[in-house]
């Protein structure tokens, strides 16, 4: 069926999305212009429905990449609200604007030369101390991170706390767009998490052991055995493999993995 025909006969050729239209349309304002969009759509889908095409400001569509930061207001409410366009469903009469990108200062550094001293962050981001604790950043975080608290932690040199508090940051940049002191909080947090991961957290000893075991070739023999197993036998092994019980404790180990543990 040609595109032309599709347009002429919308009911016959309706996709699932278009069928939802029949369920109910609501008004929203995208960049100040009113559109009728299907109820239940995410902001991103609603914008596409209204004719927008995303070549930027759209990534995973799963709420984890941070590309689709949105600000909106509802009628009669002075509060600015924030969301990810791919996650938030439209509500009647919301005023929507996308902030897919906001210019932010990112310091350049050679990570291998950085220590865990707080002064490293102070030097790279001296504007940290322009924070006046207005808390606009926390209010603008679609992840619900206490951004101001994490900045406060950095100011007092507590890199671990800043890393912990900002763990769920997806770098959408909405905090930065609202910041009175022109801080790029999310870049500072990324640096904090890097330093925390590389310089503060203890190394996982079992990982070192395992890498050593692998590089010493202790698994070569059983891998070789597996490679030479017939397909039917492999399928059987897979289907009959031992599963970890739902209620397994932390020290649970598979019985049939014995050879693996022995290889270590």
């Amino acid at each position: 069926m040609s595109v032309k025909e599709k347009k002429r006969n919308p009911v016959e050729t309706a996709t699932n999305e278009q069928k939802q239209v029949a369920a109910g349309l609501i008004s929203v304002y995208i960049m100040g212009k009113r559109y009728e969009v299907p109820e239940g759509f995410t902001i991103m889908k609603a914008m596409e429905y209204a004719g927008y095409k995303f070549i930027r400001g759209c990534g995973c569509r799963g709420g984890t990449c941070g590309a689709c930061g949105t600000v909106y207001r509802k009628p009669g409410d002075y509060k600015i609200q924030v969301a990810l366009a791919c996650q938030k469903t439209v509500e009647p009469d919301m005023y929507i604007a996308q902030i897919p990108f906001f210019p932010a200062n990112r310091a350049s550094y050679e990570f291998s030369k950085l220590t865990s001293a707080p002064e490293e962050i102070f030097k790279l981001y001296p504007e940290l101390f322009r924070c006046v604790a207005c808390n606009a950043c926390s209010k603008a975080c679609p992840q619900g991170i206490e951004v101001m608290d994490a900045i406060s932690a950095l100011k007092r040199g507590d890199i671990s706390e800043a890393a912990r508090l900002s763990f769920e940051c997806i770098q959408c940049g909405l905090c930065t767009s609202r910041c009175f002191g022109e801080l790029a909080q999310y870049h500072m947090f990324q640096l904090a998490r890097r330093i925390y991961g590389a310089r503060v957290l203890p190394r996982a000893e079992h990982l070192t052991d395992m890498v050593k075991a692998v590089s010493e070739g202790r698994y070569e023999a059983i891998l070789e055995k597996l490679k030479n197993t017939k397909e039917d036998e492999l399928k059987k092994l897979y289907q009959e493999r031992e599963m970890e019980p739902v209620s397994a404790g932390e020290d649970w180990k598979p019985k049939d993995g014995k050879s693996l543990w022995e290889a270590r």
Partner: protein
């Protein structure tokens, strides 16, 4: 008894030798310093501009944290934090219009009306523990240690937030006496250390140190006791510069009051962190048989 406690940023980095002996000493005296959660910078200097309310937000938020804990008092150790928090508190208590503006701006927080009392640890020692009780708890009297009590600016000025008379304060003198030390009064007890001038004129800071430390020394002091990390930084840096400039200049040990407290309570050098001090204090303490 548990006291709501506001540490301030510097006490978590450079001035751990101000905080750690305080926490240990209070425990020895039967008090717990309960650090308020989610605190932020106090503002670091009280904003004097009439319409600059945004700079009151940081200190007021900390006061709200104390209120959330259900506390009527918030204890500080740092003189600058004390000053900033106390003045912001006064503003919130006295100026209804500004209070409303600040409260409505912080619409995510509890409303605040200046109800939490901001106190310095020296006031807790004076008013809640008492000098006599403190003297009784002393295990290692700081005998023969001649210490000049240095107040700097922010403990005593302006008058409505001062912890003692700004003309003739006695709180540090009484404190030193309770610990068995010899207080050495000197006229520069409240002279400014140079404060944030150090940012724009790091070399000029030595003149402040020369005046203050020179005066303390000429009145017979062997060490100086202070309450403020900024005073400590400036006098310490100033001393270093003076030693380079004048071969005859001798460094004077600078102590945080909490270090002398912990030492006298017999808590040992482990909690005092003398290694972070300016002016090599350990030699003097050994000479006085206060350190092994």
């Amino acid at each position: 008894m548990s006291l709501a406690y506001y540490p301030g940023c510097t006490l978590k980095t450079r001035a751990r030798n101000l905080e750690e002996p305080a926490v240990a000493s209070l425990e020895a005296l039967g008090f717990e310093l309960e650090e308020i959660s989610r605190w932020n910078c106090c503002g670091a200097a009280y904003s004097l501009a009439e319409d600059d309310l945004i700079h009151q937000v940081a200190p007021v938020r900390n006061l709200i944290r104390a209120k959330e804990l259900g506390k009527s008092e918030l204890v500080t150790l740092c003189a600058v934090c004390l000053n900033t928090l106390k003045r912001a508190n006064l503003l919130m208590g006295e100026d209804a219009e500004k209070r409303n503006t600040i409260n409505s701006f912080m619409d995510e927080e509890l409303d605040y009306d200046g109800g939490v009392k901001v106190v310095h640890l020296l006031e807790v020692l004076r008013d809640e523990i008492g000098w006599e009780t403190l003297a009784q708890k002393v295990k290692l009297p700081l005998r023969d240690l001649r210490v000049a009590p240095y107040y700097g600016c922010t403990l005593l000025r302006p008058r409505d937030v001062a912890i003692d008379s700004e003309e003739s304060p006695v709180i540090l003198r009484k404190f030193l006496e309770s610990l068995g030390a010899i207080p050495v009064d000197f006229p520069e007890f409240a002279r400014c250390c140079g404060s944030y001038q150090v940012m724009s004129d790091p070399d000029g800071i030595s003149e402040y140190a020369r005046t203050i430390l020179g005066s303390a020394s000429s009145h017979g002091a062997e060490a100086l006791v202070l309450t403020c990390p900024l005073c400590d930084y400036n006098l310490g840096l100033g001393q270093k510069q003076l030693m380079k400039k004048y071969s005859e200049f001798r460094a004077m040990p600078l102590f945080y009051f909490t270090q002398l407290l912990a030492l006298a309570l017999g808590l040992g050098p482990e909690v005092c962190h003398f290694e972070l001090n300016h002016g090599a204090p350990e030699a003097l303490l050994r000479e006085k048989k206060l350190l092994p």
